[in-house]
Amino acid sequence: MTQEELLPQIYKKDDKAFTLLYDMYAKSLFGVIFNLIRDKEEAEDVLQDTFVKIWKNIDSYNESKGRFFTWILNIARNTAIDKLRSKNFNNNQKNLSSDNFVHILDDPSKINNKIDTIGIQEFVKKLKPKCIQLIDLLFFKGYTQQEASDELEIPLGTVKTQNRNCINELRNLLKV
């Protein structure tokens, strides 16, 4: 279903709207949240907060604000980052920069049913290490180009095109 078909349904905020929203995006958002939080229970709390925010503010969203997915992705990332910064969250800051999304796949205890991920594990691991880092920082963790350039020590001017090449590689593997 395209964004254009989805939005009129979601604006209704009824049962069907919830089901569509949840089925299409919950797991993707949870992947992003979990990659930041690294604690399943805490991450599920953040997912819940994220959905409440989306639902509450959905009337204020329109397509001039960008893609719907981008809008909810920002809410998810910001909610997770707020959680990490909150005083009572026992967080090892080092993890934020050193763990990337591929590490989730390496830890079987984090994935209830590991076989689900076998297919994707194969191709995700075929991504160049540089690409894994770049996609992790820019997409999953929401770094700016400047921050990613500093962290990975690559020239600022090449961040955009390097990232483009990496996403192309991913699309080839995924056939999207």
Partner: protein, 266 residues
């Protein structure tokens, strides 16, 4: 800048990631409005990252699904505001009939109260049944996905399939190896192995025959493939046979040959 150059610049990826300034964002939207190729490209980039993040997501518990659902849709019935009518005079003619109606309504409401109790009970019952079914569906979807993955492994034409037959210690045991030389992956179907005793684990060996050299390619830990019994183990490039032995938890450096459960030549 033509649309191809614009696409290749990498700006659309950052647009989807939500990492552009307000100004750049407007520019992308303008370009997209005039150009279907750019719109298609944006949708494809979005699909790729949605799939990627989806696939690294751990399962979301049924409780969290219930909590989110209840919070978003739950105990917040819509209130319909009543408009008050101020112009009473035009209704005077109806007063008599209203009195009669009120009498009827009173009786109706009394009956209704009794009925409501019954109906509410029914609604509660349906609700909890619905919740139970929701949970079942989530579980079934998970299982279905696992089964699909197994089917994909089995159907892959690039596989070399090796059947490992039972050995003296376990004559009825059987296992299968799916060795995909193209993707360099090895899967073990362990459905035909008896349950490993407490404190023990099955270990898979890739064997070279002359001279006999076993190399461990992995342990079949119960937790990693609880429902499907299809395990992914390390790649091997030059196995001539595969064997599975029962070893103490954590595995052994060399196979315990008395505990050889299954064996098969490539």
């Amino acid at each position: 800048m033509n649309s191809r150059e614009y696409i290749e610049s990498g700006i659309l990826e950052l647009y989807v990631f939500g990492k552009l300034s307000e100004e750049e964002k407007l520019e992308v939207q303008q370009m997209a409005a005039d150009n279907p190729a750019i719109r298609t490209e944006i949708a494809a980039i979005e699909q790729a990252v949605i799939n990627l993040s989806h696939s690294v997501s751990p399962n979301i518990s049924a409780e969290t699904y219930d909590k989110i659902r209840a919070e978003l849709l739950g105990d917040d019935p819509k209130v319909i505001a009543m408009k008050s009518k101020t112009n009473w005079s035009q209704y005077l003619g109806w007063a008599a009939s209203v009195v009669i109606l009120l009498g009827a309504a009173f009786m109706y409401l009394q009956m209704n109260d009794q009925m409501n109790g019954v109906i509410n009970e029914e609604i509660e019952k349906s609700k909890s049944e619905f919740d139970k079914m929701q949970k079942t569906i989530v579980t079934l979807e998970d299982q279905n996905k696992a089964t699909q993955t197994v089917l994909n492994i089995i159907r892959d034409k690039n596989n070399t399939v090796v059947t490992l037959g039972g050995q003296p210690v376990a004559p009825t045991a059987v296992a299968k190896v799916y060795w995909n030389k193209a993707t360099q992956t090895v899967y073990i179907d362990a459905e035909g192995l008896p349950e490993a005793p407490q404190g023990m684990v099955y270990q898979v060996w890739a064997l070279k025959l002359d001279p006999l050299t076993p190399t461990s390619i992995g342990l079949l830990e119960k937790a990693t493939a609880a429902t499907t019994k299809m395990y992914k183990v390390d790649n091997t490039t030059e196995a001539e046979a595969f064997g599975i032995t029962l070893e103490p938890e954590g595995g052994s450096a060399t196979p315990t040959m008395e505990q050889l459960y299954t064996l098969g030549k490539v």
